[in-house]
Structure formats: structure tokens, C-alpha cells
Symmetry: C2
Subunit: 556 residues, 2 copies
Amino acid sequence: MSAVLKETKTSDRASRLEKAEQLVGTKGKFVPAQMASSLLEVILRPGDRVCLEGNNQKQADFLVNALLSVNPEIINNLHLLQSTICLQEHLDLFRKGIASHIDFAFSGPQAKELATMLLKDEISIGAIHTYLELFGRYFTDLTPKVSLVAAELADPDGNLYTGPHTEETPTIVEATAFKQGLVVVQVAKVCKALPRVDIPGDWVDFVIETGQPPLSIPLFTRDPSSITDKQILMGMMVIKGIYAHYGVQSLNHGIGSATAAIELLLPTYGYALGLKGKVCTHWILNPHPTIIPAIETGWVKSIHSFGSEPGMEEYVRARSDVFFTGHDGSLRSNRLISQVAGLYAVDAFTGATLQIDEFGNSSTTTRDRIAGFGGAPNLGSNPKGRRYTSPSFRKAGEEDPLSSKQIGGLPRGRKLVIQITPTRSEKRDISVFRKELDAVALWREDYFSQPPIMVYGDEITHIVTEVGIAHVHRCSCLDERKAAIRAIAGETELGAEEKFDETCELRRRGIVQFPSDIGIQEGTVDRSLLSARSFEDLVQWSGGYYKPPRLTKRKK
Amino acid sequence: MSAVLKETKTSDRASRLEKAEQLVGTKGKFVPAQMASSLLEVILRPGDRVCLEGNNQKQADFLVNALLSVNPEIINNLHLLQSTICLQEHLDLFRKGIASHIDFAFSGPQAKELATMLLKDEISIGAIHTYLELFGRYFTDLTPKVSLVAAELADPDGNLYTGPHTEETPTIVEATAFKQGLVVVQVAKVCKALPRVDIPGDWVDFVIETGQPPLSIPLFTRDPSSITDKQILMGMMVIKGIYAHYGVQSLNHGIGSATAAIELLLPTYGYALGLKGKVCTHWILNPHPTIIPAIETGWVKSIHSFGSEPGMEEYVRARSDVFFTGHDGSLRSNRLISQVAGLYAVDAFTGATLQIDEFGNSSTTTRDRIAGFGGAPNLGSNPKGRRYTSPSFRKAGEEDPLSSKQIGGLPRGRKLVIQITPTRSEKRDISVFRKELDAVALWREDYFSQPPIMVYGDEITHIVTEVGIAHVHRCSCLDERKAAIRAIAGETELGAEEKFDETCELRRRGIVQFPSDIGIQEGTVDRSLLSARSFEDLVQWSGGYYKPPRLTKRKK
């Protein structure tokens, strides 16, 4: 009965390792930097699935350049797996034919270029994932054959120290090492003893010492001095109208200046409302510099981070009561874990977007920018599998007339998913609210098999603009949701359709709230409410530990 | 402006370590087994949050006994965090007052006893979580102060080898070690060099050599000889009516004999249907012995596992093309990762339940058994945050008339969530289908803040009984869903309400399918369709690698 299966993965791995050994000339793991491209040429094969570490912050920048130098006649049509398309070089791999297909999650800095290449058919996209589904597929049907990752230090056994930028490196390495793949890591330095071990050496095949720490991008650094009055107003509405109303204890904030405003308003405006200790105590958050004043005034009990943020290293080390840190003192981040906690273990997600349609669907994929979503669809999702409750979860669930009806009138909780955005983009003065999302148009034009919507309208509980708050989860039908959205859409295509009587009725029922409805007079908005108004203020709050990075654009 | 915060966690940790050092007399990590209880008495404090490793399979059995021996006058009212309440000893901790409160996910073997204790107020339950939300909370608001975990081997630096039973040990240790907590591990043996490193030694504070590998429970071992004709019939319906219909490529199966039947039918019935290579290729699954024939006949490309299964160690080692294994050859399991992949990266989840109500809500929490849910609410959840598609995901989404309507008619995909159950429990002949779940009654009686429902009715796509398949996600309203459910509810309270005309109409529309509607004649159900009909058959299929464990009940 029993058949003999041929085991191929082990021998495939052995044959690649053998070629590498012939090249390097020893059996050791350590490969000189100048041989990096040659190594990749012997361990890669055309069409291989390759996980290239492009994270939100940390980049395997040396290895991407090594990969760019391989001979495309030998190595071509790679299928790249990558959390983030961050660098010009990531796209150059496609221009040279070394790679042809990509599955990814976020592409902020290269969003424009990616859109251009896609429209010109220069790149083939598998899908724009969220991190969790991409990581999940690494262990299901997209297991990498070779991974190219980055760490700070290695010891002679190949044990790795990632420092604060652990991010998804352990997840990538686990998927590859335990399915007979090959793991190549760039490190700044090989040293005798590590401050701590983040990844065991026997999971790693090749270590390349580059003399330079991996490039790290300050993606979550927001300058307090550039926060606008509109953002302050919206921040006040979120704190008073939502966080206080529900008693939001655990939460995640996305990237963006509006959420930075909320963080800076907690010690001042939030304190005046008597909220200290009652809301915003447990966070799933990168080390945002703008969270420093809230930490220093004792609001924050715990923060777990997806990744680190340049300049925050010493401050985090000084606040190990709040952050997750190793015995060496530095941050231990972990994107997989933070995404899981941000999905399942928090009361609220608050984030920004680029476009919202009349149903409340939102997306950051626009005709001229394919930014991907990062964690937003996941963090901004109401996890119906969640089974423990919290006061906020219960209250939001009780307010939702549709969800309970679907299960025979039984109660169930709901996570708050808050989209915060001005009605028109402040930088580019273009409308955020529109009849149809570009994402939908791109799908109609066949660029995607489903519209690349970031957060669906029925997943959102609140949309907050400078006009007011729409409590969309309280609407009893889709038409009511549409009316609530246009009531706060301001001077946009959608806002123009607002009906005065309808909005009055929604305000009367508390489904729409203008600032004055929750006791915020627009005239009272004042920059002095920000607990820090500049980087200098943040440095001072931090006791000198925070070192703001230079926010100049990186040249190639 | 800047305040000086007092950092307390580091000094708290230092003071506990100092007491331990005084006790043990050295600065080393290694504590003699006979001092285990004394160690716990000095590093624990009343009310501490303690993560005690009770996994699905692996148990920190030595450490739970050490904890049972502490003086309850000194150590009491601990808040236990535990994936699984598996052992009698886990509940004894509450009887002795050492622990008073628990947050957990699964309690299969102790379900009956737990229900009794809850009704007698002898235990206080925070919540019945799924694994992912419990793990998420370890990094949010339920960070453990002390963790008591289990591994197979340690080296002199405290590096740990978990062997195939990695399960959630790395996740627990990460949550504790990086928030200034203390990690205590029991190992069978300390040896000079490990087969591989699963957890770095500098994450571990104390190692106790016990001479015995941690207890491991064969939770996923199903005896093919006990599979019933009903289970074979239901298995055939799932393969032909669902897996073939949608082209299900990636999937997870729960515990239970009905899903074991599906696994055993693939090489025979599935092969005859021409499905080999087209369905069931990528799995998120523990190493179920009943998956062996499908592997040996080349159906299975990949399996990632939550945990291991006793007896499967050597077989897994011989099939590293399929399973995730280390360079030492043994399985690397990881519950956090498997749960993430099972939520976000698969087409289908198929699992069993104990009760289903008229709306399709299901639960394994009954009046006399509080079994918890394990991963089911998570794995059996339609992840609305998922953004990549597959043929199955798209097709299931297209069939769902309600979901698309909520977002303005745009397409979105859907995961298949299949509940497979006889209409009446075969062992106990009690009704599975009923007007009200015990879970709802227990909530009405105030034992829970929300009804402990396992999978909500609107999350399920299919219910399969011996009567037929109800495609509940295709129903256009709740009343139609109720009609589809009672059409397949057989001789139960709900089945008695079936209306003949209504069922005929649902069958005509394909929303309800009886076996004959999909070309399965009940007379053709035959045990010879099972590719293995006994443990001996499985051993033979495995080429002698599989060693069935003794399935006797464990005595204390």
C-alpha cells in the first residue's frame, strides 16, 4: 500500500549549499561582502520565491544591491515576497528582469512609481496583502526558497542581534529555515558576544558583514510644528466624542499627523476632561515620538511595537516599564505579534486614508499612487472571532443594530474602527470623499481581481472630519449610513449631496455629531493645546533621550 | 516640563532574582528539581499574573506540581493565563487557593469539572478566549509576570530545544522575558549541545532538569476503526459538494472523527472524483495520523502545524518536503503562526461542534461541559481584513447576497466555514440542533458577560449533517437561513419544524442539497472507501514510521 515519496527539498537545499561551499571555499557561514552577488548567483535559481526584507523601517539594503548585481541571464523572473516596497532598488529589480512578480503589503515611498510601472505592465502583482495574511501565506502556499534579511550584529555561531528593529525578521527566517530554504543575512558587524540573541544561529545559513547597520526609515516621525488646526480639532473630537464615550483602554494609532495630534492632546485636553488613567492606557504602537508627553505624564502603561523608529532608541531604553525591551535594554519589536494584538486585543484602531466613497469604503490605492495598505485592513477590522469583552467592545456592539439581528438578537461586541481625515487633503487640496474610489475604477479596468479597498464601509464604526463625527455603525441601513457620511463630507462631491433636514435628524439622534454637539467650540482650537509644538519640545519631554532623525529625502 | 517617571519593573525583577539567588546559592540559571517549589515561593507574589504552560498537547506537568506544593499562605490568588486547562492539577490550584482567576482558551479534558466548579463559584473566569486573542493580550494588558514553561532539552547557556512540541512556548517566553518578567522552564535533560535552538538562552531565567520529557497528550489521534458510516457519508458530501465545488486548495481541519474521515477518503473517493492535485494541497493542520495516506499518495504539498502529535515524530521527520522541520529533522510547530495562517491564509475551515441553534450559532460550551473553543472561533471566522483572493474565496463571496450589498454592490471574497456534525450526537444520542444553546442560557443566568458562542451563524457558510448540506451563506435573509438549517436538522427539536415545500424549494435552488442531489447514493457508503481502517493500516501507510500512542486515560 505504502508508496515511496521522493523527498526533494532536502537534496535541493544540499545542492545549493554545495555550490556555495565551492564558491566560498570553506564550510563556514561567513561570506565576504564582495562575494555577495556571486553567492546569490549560485544559491538562487530562476523563478525562485525570494523573501527580500523590506520592512516598514528596516531594509536589507546591502542585499538588494547585491541582488541587483547578479547576471539577469542567470538569475531572472524571481517571485519576490516583501512586506514593503520602500526603495528605488526594489523596483529596479523588475526593470532589469531579475524579478518579475511580487506579493507585498505596503509601498508608501514607492507608491507613485509602482502605479506607473503597473500601468505600463512592467511589474506583475500577485496581491496587495495585509502583513498577517502575507506572513500566513509564508507558512501555507508562499513559502520562500531563499530569504535575504538584515540584522545589526552576528556572533561567530551566526546568532543574530536585530536590536530594536526586530520587526518581521524572525517570522521570515522561521518560514524559510524550517522548510529547507536558505537564509542569508547582512549584518553591520560580527562580534564575539551579542547584547542578546534575537534569532538563533542554527536558523541562519550565510552571514555577510557589511560594516554598515541596515538602512532604517523614520516612517512614524511626525513634526509637531506641522500639525494643523484642523488636525487638532479632529483630535479633540476623537478624544471627547469617541475615546471618552466608549472608555477606550487599548488601541492602535496609524501613521499620520491627525493621530499624532491625538497623542499630543492627551496630557492637556485629555487631562482637562478627567480622562487620565481611564482611557488610552495600553497601546499597540510603534515608538511614535509624539507619544512621549503622554508617557512622561503617566498616561501609558504598556506599548508593544511592530518595529522601532529611528531616534527613539535611547528613550525606549529609559522607559522599559512601558515598552517591551530585552535584558540588554533595547526594544524588542515584532510585527507579527503586534498585528495579532492590534487585530484581536484592542478596543480601537484610529487611522487615516486617502479616499472614502459614499458607502464608507476607503482606500489608499489611487490612480497615481498604489501605496498598499500595510496593516490597516487587519488592524481596521472587526474581529468576529474575538470572544472576550471589554466595556468599549460591549458598548460599541450594543449600538450596532444590524450585527445582533443577524444572530437572532444575541449580543456581541464590536471593535471601534475610526477613520480620521480632513474632507479635502490639506497638502494637495483634493477631495477625500468621492462617488467612486480610484481602487474601484482600477478594478473595473482589470488591474486587480477585486477592488483594492483598504477598509470596507461596514467594518468602520466612525468617520471623523473637521465637520464632525459620523457614528456609521449605529445606522440601521445602508441609506442611513450614506446620509451620515455625506453629512460630514464638507466641500466635496459627496458633501454637496447633503440634505439639511436629514443631517438635523441624524444629529438629533446622535448618529452625526458636529463639534458643538459635544461641547467643542471651533474658536477654542488652539495650538497651545499640543503638549509639544516642535521636535525640541519632544526632546525636552524625553529628558534628552529622544534624538530626532534628519527627515531629508534619501538619495540613491 | 519633563517629569521623572519611576521605573519599577526592572527593580521588581531584580529583587525577585536576588531572592532566588539567595535560595539557590549561585548566580546560575540551573535549579535542582527538589528546590522547584521553594524557587516558586520566592519569585512569585500573591495576585501575580502567571502563565502556566498548558498547551493542547505539551504540559509543564512538573511545574504545575511544583506550584501545587507552594504554601498557599505565602502564594495565593494567582491570576493564571493558560491556553489549555488539561490536567486535574490545573484545577487543584484553585481548590487550594493558590490561584483564583483564570483566562484561557480550551479545556477539553477538564470541561466537565470546570463547569461544576464554575457553577459552585470555586473558580473565576476572565474570559474564554481564542488562542490569538489570548496571545495578543499577553502583549497588551495581560502580560505575564512569571511564566512556567516546558521544553525537552537545555544547553549550559539555557538555550532550549522544544523538539516537535514548540507550540506556544516561544510566544509565552517572548511576552514575559521582554517585559521584565521571569521565565522558568522544565526540561528533561541538560546536555552539552542541542539538536537545534528553539528559544535563545538569554530569554530564560531558570532551568530545572526533571529527567522526564514534558507530558504530551495525543489530542488529534483518531482511530480509523471507530469512524462511522454517518461520518463517511458526511465526509463524501464535504469532498464532492464543497471542496470540489469551490476548488478548496488550502484548509484547516478541526479535531474529530468526521474530519478524519475526509482525510482518509481523499486517496480513494477523492481520487475517483479526479480531484488529486486540484484540492486540499496546502494545510494548516497538526500532524493528524489520518492525513498519512493522503500524504503518501501525493495529495499534500505542505502542512504547517500548531503543535505536534505523539507517535508522529518519526513520520514527520521522514516527510520534510511536506512538514516544517528543523535541520535536526524534527517538526517545528508554532501555534501563533498556525493560527494566523489558519485565519488569513486558507480557503476553508471544517470543524465539529456540540450544539447549533436555529440561527446557525454553534457552541461547545454546554451546561455540563465548558470545553472552551481553542482556535475554532478564529479559524472559523471570515477574515474581512483579508485582501488577496483565491478561486474559492472569490466564488464563496460571489454566492453571498448580503455581504456585497453592505458595501455598495462591490465584490469581496469569503472564507468557507464548514460545521460538520451528525444531527444527534452519536455517542450520547442527544440532539445537536436546538432552539436555544446552553451557552445562551448560561449567559442569561449571568455566568458570562456575553453568550460563549463558538462560531456565529453569520460566519458559517455550510452546515453538513447526515441529512445534507445547508449552504447558509447563500441565503438572502435570516428566515431563509433558518429554513435551510431545519431542512438538514433531522430528528431534533429544530428538524421537527421543517416544512416540506420550503425544503423542496431550497433544494431546487441548490441552497440545500441532500446526498442524492450531488450524486451520492446512501447505499454506496462503504467502509472500504476509507484508505485506512485501523491504526495498523496507518502504520503500514507510513512505512512503519508512525507509532500509535496508547490511548488510555491518564491517571494522576
